[in-house]
């Protein structure tokens, strides 16, 4: 009985706090994405204009997002049966978008960021994930 109550409390706290934090994070992500829309990022290198380049440098941004207790439990249950682990999708989505945003914020004045790459890894067992975004920021001669 005590076990069940403990589990229910942990699940409820995990769910409510976790989804509040997630909603807040998404609001911030969307807002900053709009603000930085002008900062161009592409995955290729053929967007370079035929203009003299003043400087270019490596820019990177990384974000570590943790799962909550609710997601962890649901993820584990889903692991048993297989299939889409939808609860972790938002986690990775947030990590990737946050990483790209941080990379952009590192070079807000860049004319374009070329060759964007994203890498992910797990941290602290499998309860957190890291997304690392990096690319080459290019500044043209004015």
């Amino acid at each position: 009985m005590a076990d069940l109550i403990q589990l229910a409390v942990l699940l409820a706290v995990g769910y409510f706090v976790g989804s509040r934090i997630e909603k807040k994070h998404y609001r911030s992500i969307k807002e900053r994405e709009k603000k930085l829309l002008g900062c161009a990022v592409v995955t290729g290198d053929d967007f370079l204009e035929d203009r003299p380049v003043r400087t270019s440098r490596l820019v990177s941004g990384s974000a570590v997002i943790s799962s909550d207790y609710f997601k962890m439990i649901v993820g584990n249950l889903l692991n048993f049966f297989g299939g889409e682990v939808s609860v972790f999708e938002s986690l990775l989505d947030r990590a990737r978008r946050e990483a790209i945003l941080r990379m952009k914020e590192e070079a807000p004045a860049a004319d374009i960021i070329l060759n964007l790459r994203i890498e992910t890894s797990t941290i602290a067992g499998k309860n957190s994930c890291e997304a690392l975004a990096y690319g080459t920021a290019v500044y043209y001669e004015k």
């Binding site: 009985m1 076990d3 069940l4 589990l7 942990l10 699940l11 769910y15 989804s19 994405e33 709009k34 829309l37 002008g38 161009a40 592409v42 053929d46 967007f47 609710f70 997601k71 962890m72 439990i73 649901v74 584990n76 249950l77 889903l78 692991n79 048993f80 049966f81 889409e84 939808s86 609860v87 999708e89 938002s90 990775l92 989505d93 374009i112």
Partner: protein, 272 residues
């Protein structure tokens, strides 16, 4: 190539399904699998338990009740033993243990059957019980646990389930945290069934030994008066709701046409 910024409104990378829905479906599936496994294991254990020899059960019991091994019985315990002996002789189908009763200083109003023939009565129970018949019912109930091999059945389930849980979860504690409470709850349902079965056995044996079933419900009536748990809490308890126990025993008495005789007062030293 010219770069034109575009604002993305929708997100294809995150499923629109609500996490609560995902959880409910996954939980229901897990529970279904657990219930199926639990019943298969339960059936297997129930099949094997009665076939375990008395000697093996004694060996298993020796691991648990070493505290009472070869202890000399006190006067109070010998008095209880004199109630137990005729009961134990009354059923030839009981496993051939050396049935002994011991008293433990404990305020809880309870008695337990340890594996392999030892019954421990708490001093709190002796204070409550007023008649010999009432005490005989408690002891006969405990004999019912031996008759039904409840220790082996309980332990067998627990053991196999724990094995299974750690096997499936690979020692991962977070999935165990959801699987174990579910199993414990099922275990409680099983335990309640065992208690009901021991009650039925107890009233039968009481009637067989005393020629009537007087005093069969006395103890549970006392329990239900003391009881301050709401009924739904009994879903998670090892023992059934006292009122349902009284009802089940009364029904058994009526069904079998047991006589209502007179209860004998219990002459016993209340304190050593």
């Amino acid at each position: 190539m010219k770069y034109t910024p575009k604002d993305l409104e929708e997100n294809v990378n995150v499923s629109p399904q609500s996490p609560l829905r995902t959880f409910s479906i996954a939980f229901a599936k897990t529970l279904a699998v657990l219930v199926i496994i639990y019943f298969i294991i339960g059936a297997l254990v129930d099949l094997i338990a009665p076939r375990v020899s008395v000697g093996t059960e004694k060996k298993i019991g020796a691991l648990i009740d070493a505290a009472f091994k070869d202890r000399k019985q006190t006067e109070q315990e010998l008095r209880l033993q004199s109630i137990l002996d005729p009961l134990a002789k009354g059923d030839p189908a009981l496993p051939g243990f050396d049935y002994k009763v011991y008293v433990q200083e404990n305020q809880q109003v309870n008695a337990v059957a340890l594996p392999a023939g030892n019954i421990v009565v708490f001093s709190g129970l002796i204070k409550e019980v007023k008649s010999e018949n009432e005490m005989a019912m408690v002891l006969a109930h405990e004999l019912g646990h031996f008759r039904h091999h409840d220790h082996l059945r309980g332990m067998g389930r627990q053991l196999l389930l724990l094995l299974l849980v750690s096997f499936f979860s690979g020692g991962d504690s977070s999935s165990q945290s959801i699987v174990l409470p579910s199993i414990t709850t099922m275990q409680m349902r099983f335990s309640q069934k065992q208690e009901q079965a021991a009650d039925q056995y107890g009233v039968d044996l009481l009637n067989k030994t005393y020629g009537h079933a007087a005093g069969a419900t006395d103890f549970f009536v006392k329990m239900s008066k003391k009881d301050d748990w709401p009924k739904f809490m009994y879903f998670f308890s090892t023992h059934p709701y006292p009122a349902s126990r009284i009802q089940a025993i009364t029904e058994r008495i009526q069904e079998k046409g047991y006589l209502a005789g007179k209860v004998e007062p219990l002459w016993i030293a209340k304190k050593e």
